[in-house]
Symmetry: C2
Amino acid sequence: MHFTSEQRLDDRALEREFTLDEIPGILWTPVSASAPTPLILISPPPLGLRRMYPRLVGRAKYYAAEYGFAAATIELPGSGERPRGAAAEQARADLRRAMEAGGRVGDDIVDALVLPLVEKSVPEWQTALDALLSLPEVDGPVGYEGGIISIGVRLARVEPRVVAAGLFAGSLVPAAMFEEARQVTIPLHVLLQWDDEGNDRQAALDLFDAFGSKEKTLHANLGGHAGVPQYELDAGARFFARHLR
Amino acid sequence: MHFTSEQRLDDRALEREFTLDEIPGILWTPVSASAPTPLILISPPPLGLRRMYPRLVGRAKYYAAEYGFAAATIELPGSGERPRGAAAEQARADLRRAMEAGGRVGDDIVDALVLPLVEKSVPEWQTALDALLSLPEVDGPVGYEGGIISIGVRLARVEPRVVAAGLFAGSLVPAAMFEEARQVTIPLHVLLQWDDEGNDRQAALDLFDAFGSKEKTLHANLGGHAGVPQYELDAGARFFARHLR
């Protein structure tokens, strides 16, 4: 893990950019922390860290200032300035064509788009965890939030250091992930946008139903994909505070 | 409105029992309030105020101490020591028989059980509101929560002094109330127990979908009818704090 920049944000958080095996990432730690802090992994949507930066830094600053949590993110495979694979590009093109044609997107397209991303990115999050938890100022326990829900499902299933997850039911989910969801047992906080244009509401409810966790909460809000209300930031932080303290 | 008793609770709230046109009720006001306060109407389940008292007072004390809200409740028609009507008793017996027989409870039974209760209790809540808002220590705006969801739907539709409502999707809902739900426009916070034995989950989701409100949030939690997690008390209070301040 190689830090490439460092800046203080409003006396609330210290922001450090890093690279790890050529993957770019950002770590935010609370300025006022006197002891090692819990860590939230913030998985970005596949739009690139630079484009998502305003939203990511807003969350991280809130977590640092209000709850004393550290937060970190890394670029997803094929996003931002990371190399794009031919297969992933093909899958994206197939998806675009299927959505323009209307109707349901075929399982083969969803699988081709999502499953390789899950396979590739989950080990990267685990490597990032190794590096982040080796820093003296970051301790644990670890929460995970955001991004592509299938990545969260897999990470919650296989990574015991992640003890609570906040998921956004807003992307296409391969059938195989419903089976994996049954094996997830950590506390979950799931967001659903009730009128999400590109998201199948019933599939999202079925996925919530499938999770094996004894504690799971669904927060459904009126509005489209990008319309998650501002107050859900604090609701999610409170969920993490219950499980990371 | 005639106060019949008064006691201080833990230096957090003043509790006063009252009767209003022979309906028993309880008012809780924050001890430390220096100005007139917002008011939450807490509608009890139809099990009687005395039986529900521990839960009601727990909520009221929390609202008073943490948020400075006053809270009040009144006995529902046919509950507690209020006279039971023959028709309501018949409807309850029919419901019990239908549930013991298993399968779906008929629309006629649901209508006979719920609609007269809505017709009778909503004007009572409005009369209580008149009396409560005439007290110098209670001001407004007013939130409503709990109880039988159809009563909340009607009150939210017809009573402009109620500006936000927290509803519990846990009781049988007459078909006519779905139509009324479309006319509700105030912010809503709806609780759903995902594994509620006596509640049709799909009907609850359909009712949430039907509400005409621009701001509506569904909190679904794992567990049965009586298993609402403790943390939902604060989540509901924060919803009211957003709309009553």
